[in-house]
């Protein structure tokens, strides 16, 4: 797991993420669970040709929920590792 494509799995596209991108120059990615801040920073810099100032990482734990589409049986909402990447002023990533 050293390739950027293996580290950066997907960009997160939500209301909060778009506001962060617009206002704070922060971009949110779903990353590989074993990725660390350094590898994430390198991956973003390599993929988008930008300079990363800071990386914040959070892990969302899997949650057990009742699935109303499967007769309220228990199912697991999968967890993920999210990275919030702050870019240097002036750098931008066009995710859309």
């Amino acid at each position: 797991m050293s390739q950027p494509v293996e580290i950066l799995l997907d960009s997160v596209l939500t209301e909060k993420a778009t506001q962060q991108a617009a206002n704070l120059n922060q971009y949110v990615f779903r990353v590989h669970p074993k990725a660390n801040r350094n590898s994430i920073k390198l991956a973003v810099q390599e993929t988008f040709s930008v300079t990363v100032r800071r990386v914040n990482v959070l892990i969302r734990k899997p949650k057990v929920k009742r699935d109303r589409f499967r007769r309220n049986n228990l199912s697991v909402k999968s967890g993920m590792k999210k990275a919030i990447v702050t870019l240097k002023e002036g750098d931008k990533i066009d995710l859309l």
């Binding site: 997160v12 596209l13 939500t14 209301e15 993420a17 778009t18 617009a22 859309l96």
Partner: protein, 448 residues
Amino acid sequence: MKVEIKDTNDTRKVATVAFEPQEVAAEEKKVLQLFSKHAKIPGFRPGKAPDQVIRSRFADGIKEEWSNRLATAARDAILEQDDLRVHQLLKIEPGEIIAEAPVEVVITLDAEPPFELPDYEGFTVEVTSDDPSSEEVENLLESWRQQRADFAIVERPAEKGDFVKCSYDGLVDDKPIGDLVPDKPIYGKQANTWEEAGAENGVGVPIIIESILGMKAGDKNTYQTEFPADFEESRLAGKSATYELEVHEVRHKNLPELDDPKFLQAMEVDKVEALRERAETEAKTQKERSNATAKRRQVRDQLLAGVDFELPQADLESETQEIFRAMVDANLRRGAAQEQLESHKDEMFTRAGEDARESIKLRIILSRVAEKEKIEVSREELSQAIATQAMMAGTDPREHFKEMQQDRAKLAHLQQQVLFDKTLALLTEKATVEIKENDEGSEEENEA
């Protein structure tokens, strides 16, 4: 927005509506707002997704809606042109839409041709007097006597005017005529049919009508005949035929006398004088009605003759097709054969074209007159027209009303029809009426 109109001919025009980039962008913004309000995108509340996200998710739908809106705006701009009386929009072609670039919408349309309204207040119409002549009253009394005739069985040979029940079978070259003309059984084989002995200009086989004169019930005979070369049924023209004829019954037509008590009772009067009075009243009513129709027809003819202009091509084509279809349906309902219709197709189509021309020309002239005279159709008049239509169709007026409300095109068509009738009625009222002598009038009315 800039509108440019080019003439292809007097009625066909091509309009180009050019939108500035700002106008195009403004429309796009409205479309994006519309989509954003209703779009369900995961991760975003309704109305909160950014434009870029909406654009990327719904690119095709946005482009289509954008194009439609520009086409609608262009159409509205054309319809608002004062000097252009649009008859029908034939084609709307929006150009390629690129953000922040001008867009052109090309509309092909048929417009009313320019023409001067004829002087419609100076028409003169000729009709006969509404008062019936004594001959007309006598004719009406005679027709009532005919309606109430009784037919008594007689044993004597049939005389002219008698009604004869007979059966006949015709052969041409030993083949049944029914096989030659299967769509016209009257010429072939008939069983127990009624014929008027010696009738002039009667419908049916001439030899039968002549031969039953002098025959009585139970008589049988065989007759030879040759159909004339110009016989109305071309498949029999010039052919020799043999008919076997059998008479079953002879009935004499008895017309009641005017003072016959049964006749007077049937007519719901008690005296001959009252009967004559009733005949005069009814003859007068009939004359008034026919005079009204004649006046309208004459005004219509003078209106059509008073001006000439090119007609919108698309309208003419569709109206011709509609009239032609109605002609074919009417003929099929009357029992005409498909082959017969095929052979007269060109003639029928030409006639349909002429009728269509007259109809469209009259509609255009009447709509101009209605506009000039500020004639409008009120709600009550429209409701009345719907009720009349329902009555003629034999349907419930309330159901018919609901149906019309749902079909806007039908309602608009009916409204237009009422407007034209009203306008024609106004022109007829304004016309100067000249009274002709009754003799000339009755001849012309008979011809009409």
